[in-house]
Subunit: 411 residues, 2 copies
Amino acid sequence: MNINRKLKELAKVIVKKGVVLAEGEILVIQASVEAAYFSRIVAETAFEEGASEVYTEWFDDEMDKLRYKNESIESLTKTYPWSGRTLLEYAKKGCCFVKINTPDPDVFSEISASIISENFKAKRKIDEETNSMKMNGTCKWTSLAIPSKKWAEKVSPELDENEAFEKLWDMFFDICRIDETNSVENWDIHTQNLTGKANYLTAKKLIKLYFKNDIGTDLVVELAKNHLWVGGTLPSKSGISFVPNIPTEEVATAPYKTGADGVLVSTKPLCHNGQLIDKFKLVFKNGKVVDFEAEVGYEHLKHIIETDENSCYLGEVALVPFDSPISNKNILFYNTLFDENASCHFALGRGYPVVIKNNSIMTDEEIAETGLNISSLIHVDFMVGSKDLDVIGYDENNNAIQIFKNGNWAF
Amino acid sequence: MNINRKLKELAKVIVKKGVVLAEGEILVIQASVEAAYFSRIVAETAFEEGASEVYTEWFDDEMDKLRYKNESIESLTKTYPWSGRTLLEYAKKGCCFVKINTPDPDVFSEISASIISENFKAKRKIDEETNSMKMNGTCKWTSLAIPSKKWAEKVSPELDENEAFEKLWDMFFDICRIDETNSVENWDIHTQNLTGKANYLTAKKLIKLYFKNDIGTDLVVELAKNHLWVGGTLPSKSGISFVPNIPTEEVATAPYKTGADGVLVSTKPLCHNGQLIDKFKLVFKNGKVVDFEAEVGYEHLKHIIETDENSCYLGEVALVPFDSPISNKNILFYNTLFDENASCHFALGRGYPVVIKNNSIMTDEEIAETGLNISSLIHVDFMVGSKDLDVIGYDENNNAIQIFKNGNWAF
């Protein structure tokens, strides 16, 4: 394997398929300092594709960890009137955003859930307007997590450090459809396949879905009015289909905020903000989480659900076959960007306005009337897919359509 | 050699001797992304010493290089009204600044001098007020350059990459007086020695110095009124002696801005902003550079001298014996922080108000009246020391005092 060639191919996929950068556009990279070597390849590729500017904002979870351990909550939540202004200026110019993380699934395991949560909320508030411009398609964006040594050790604890790292990169390239020559074409085919499934579901004009398996998931979820299903891509305001997550295997849409009733049982751990939540269960009534349990990370889950008034409602429902390329690795990645693409999942918190028909000419109030959960600080995916999961859709005439049978597409 | 132990010792020297961080103070780290691993050790050490907060700003010369190669000058010089505001807020709170670079001496060699210069000026203007607060001792600060592989290859091109890197670290620790247990004590002794020499010179109340060697240096330079000599340290406004550069071997003070006449001939290359200037000569009249030559990097030198109206005047004169620990390595480091501490040097541009007696109760106008070059955007050191350099000082009665004889201290 020529790793440099594959990294260049990955950068091309990010720039050409991820954010679909056009001549003259600005690229904003938000990258972990550990990803500097790859971020430069992305920047170089963006310039080759005609970027007029590449602005980079660096972050370092390890430095944040030291701050969490040693600083007061005032210091950890302090913001200035100009915090986030530079990113917002770039967003207003219609920039593209690429976020490159090098996760360590346990990085914040020693930190209390409330410190993480308060700091996270402060950061989210700073970038609230910018994030809205990403979620409503004003800006095209892509997020990805590339291997770090600590992540590799977590995924393959039986291997030595370098072997584990190499194995994770191998799996990464495979899952992300990166080869040495045709990666962009691979992604063209892949997103066409997913979009085909999404268009089929959109045409069915479903009003609700029923999720059921043998380990306790039993949920009816209504869908937002005039929802669109999207397959691996999101539409920008100017009509460009960009790929927000690499990898992606999902076909997704928006629930009706107050329309979920029943129980969802997790099937994979959720690693959120460097903290682990596992073996958990959410009970919904009229869309709201009214009860929950977690064998691991109960406090972290509580903080997520209680972030704000809309963080206890669903914002996304996504279908991923149990028999997907990531799932077939039969490996737990401890990273949502991977694990969510191996499993049907939901998200708590804010949904994507772009999955509502004609959203670009609607006001926020009109979008909210479709039932989309529009104004939470969070969007946290969690996995519920299993090999016995059935999903049945119902249209307005109560016609049933089998969508998933035993964890896989039924059509 | 236990590198981790020595890195920890280095961090202690930075925190305890470099910025002399006191309980409750804030540390601002400005670090190259390649120095992340070491920056975290510095942050951890600062918290151990009672820092209330550590704020980090990352930079990456490689990313800057891509921007210089591909972006318009408008994009490279664009600033916002809030650019630099966060650092200024920290400075106003009396924070300490640590800058950690991982230099590649050739990083910007392909970039035109004017692009580098314009970008540099824009950055300097953003941080002008903050930099003034560093130079006048409101904030304590330390700058250092730690080994990078590219720097190591430049210094030892005959070795393979890893050997060169290890050798540079070995020399670095040696030069910086870092051992596995007593580094802070080493620095106590070292700065006491330098301060002893500085106090001796201050007591002599010299009014001018005469520099002369056989390769063409022949310069009389008057000294600022009420100047103080400083030895390795600078005094903060609150009277703390901090170490602005690691390593340091210099005993330095401020010239009288309009009082330099004659010629200075460089004895080492000057690597400034990732670009090389070598074999150069400056001719001064009434303090001003009126003529100059350079066999290498003439355009870069021209841009430095012509940065603003005061960048053609001297701001510092520093004495370093030819027989110093760095000099005795007999190696060219291609980095000013090392090479300047192996050689007598001057600086073009802004001087340090803290080397004027009673500066903390003086206005800027009063400080300017002492002859200190107070308001340039630049402070660029260049090396003129040689093994045959003589330096003679004169007091107000025209008594001559031999300060350097054949490149070394004469007293």
